[in-house]
Amino acid sequence: MKGEKDSKQKIELDDDIKQLVITRIEAQMSPHLRLSIGEGGSLGINEMIKHIKDEDQIGKQIITSHLEFIKAQASGALISALNSVE
């Protein structure tokens, strides 16, 4: 029972993360921009969102990239790195 609850929470968390990244993409990228990511080619906003919803390799890589940046901002790693070049 507990395992089922944990599993449900994990799925909800994953959905929250996907939605967070989709919201960031919609807010932060102009429609005329495309992201180039390896063999995935260059992707417009809708294509990026589709990869995220499909949870394929490219979608996971886009999510990872967003999470790494968020983590760097939250942990202070980004500001510390930026201060090192000022």
Partner: protein
Amino acid sequence: MKKSVLITLPNFDDVTTYLSIFSKEIILNCQKNQIKIKCLEKEKVTSINTTNIIKKLDCKMIIFNGHGSPKSIRGHKNEKLISLGENDYLLNNRITYARSCWALLELGKKCVEGNKGCFIGYKIPFMFIIDNTRITNPIKDNIAKIFFDTSNLVPIGLIKGHTAKESNENSKRSMLKAINKALTNNDKDSHAIAQILWNNYISQGVVGDANEQL
């Protein structure tokens, strides 16, 4: 081994077109510094041509543009040029810069084992942003330029006589400066630009003898 450079310039999709076009600066720097450079372009970027040129010209430095994986670097239409366990020995004792996704992870480490070579590359995908309104004339794409100006500093640093370590660090410093500039601009796209620059910043690295020079 000769103080010369081999560069691959595949051009069969958006990504490889941009990689090749923005490599012009690297080629110009070779010419300016009187360093011989062999350009392997478009459909000529095949495994057999790459192997033959490396063996024949014995170039000290090799610059790969193209798709990649942890175990391979690819050329025209994704033909494998260098594969882990098959012909990675071709990169032994050389300086390699691979602007290819993932290749630093396994291939890069393997090809510098037990020799004086070094490998600079990316342990996750190298990413960049394109301005779609400039796609027919990429060289005018000032958004994509940010990602290539910063990564080009690896080979350009080596061409100017810096070590692999110095060239890698200088390139990464320029990424941080570009992130700072983007975040200071604070327009709609600046956060996305900063985030993708950070992706390249954390994934770019050097393995092997980082004191190697061209």
